[in-house]
Amino acid sequence: MTKEKISYNEAVTEIEAILQKIEEDKLDVDELAEKVSRVTDLLKICRDKLYLTEKQIGKILDED
């Protein structure tokens, strides 16, 4: 997992921007793979923030 602090708003905005690019067929295959993993990372960051306490998230970050 990426070691980053990102707000829900920033995460959702970034995800939507990437999705739009994919939907408009603006990415080549190599970029596609990279962006797909970025989106799944961001989704996971958001989910972790929803369910885990700051402490638990901190622990996950430290394990990296």
Binding site: N9, I15, T53
Partner: protein, 420 residues
Amino acid sequence: MPGEKRSLSELLEQVKGALNKELPAHYWVIAEILEFRENRHCYLELIEKSEENDSLLAKVRATIWASRYGMLRPFFEASSGTQLKSGIKILCKASVEFHPLYGMSLNITDIDPSYTLGDLARKKQEVIQRLRKEGVFDMNREVLFPIVPQRIAVISSETAAGYGDFSESIQNNRHGFRFQTTLFPAVMQGDEAPLSITSAMEKIYESESDFDCVVMIRGGGSKADLESFNHYDLAYFITQFPLPVITGIGHERDESVADMVAHHGLKTPTAVAEFLVDQLLAFEFRLSALLDRLLISVRNRVQGDLSRLERYGEAMLYLSRALLQRQSEQLRQSEERLRRELTMQLDRKGDSLAALKKRTELVDPRNILLRGYSMTLMDGKSVSSIKNIKAGSLLETRLHDGSIISKVEPSSETNDKGED
């Protein structure tokens, strides 16, 4: 009887007698409570102020004896939604009492809560009008609500049951969402409430960026006394707050002004907790939707690539098939042309042969014989005149299917005469 002396008590007994005679009944009186004190009985100071300049026009002590007060107070509070306290106006049924030692006071036996209710409603309307006029009424509702309200500043009384309900519902929500709540204790009822609450808000303001929203809750306490939440200062403070404020102050009837100006005015602390959990649930759904969108768009993309390849393949197949077809068609046409050409030439040759044959047939003597003609021979030579024919000559008559030999008899037309 001028000059007759009397004692003070005698005079005051006389006053008492005059009052009882002149004002014997009970009267419905409108007054404002200036002071309020209770043990078992209730002791009040009632006043009337000038409407123009607030100066005092009248003032009197009043008492509600325990026997009445025990019933009156709960009824009044339940019906009017406010406590008996200083500052409110009441319509009370009172008799004038006079005691030589304690002076004059009113003995209150009933209070009409609807009057107070009406008066409070009027005051509430005034506060609303003022906030609207100042253009601040909708300001808190215009604050952007956070996408995920997860860090909550709670204004409540620490011991209130409402706070317990709220903490319980939010920390143990069934979806397992994590909330971070921080309590800012405040007095939530009575006259100190507005100031106590606004001080708590000031503390929150100092660390504003640590919070997504403010929750103002109350409940479990006295159902009466919502008056604090109609207070102008408190309402104004809410309108000016940079974080969205959510109220759950347990109103049973009308909304308070605080509820109206808050970002969300909800009925109970539990309702506030559910609302917050719902917000997170909505966000969770949104994440799921985004994931679905990702899967679909990637699948479409990959399928798009595959079907493009497939289309290329199909196009090639189609093109080569078309090419083949065109070429075999050309071949077929050439063959056809060749065949036609040959046939034509052969036909032409055949025609001239037939004509030749016909002509030869026409001159074949056998064909003439077939049509019934015959041919006469003598000595193997064809006879075309009677000139050399003599009696006794042998003639051969040739027909198409055989010959007849015959002998010439003498006749006048024969050459016998000539022989003579």
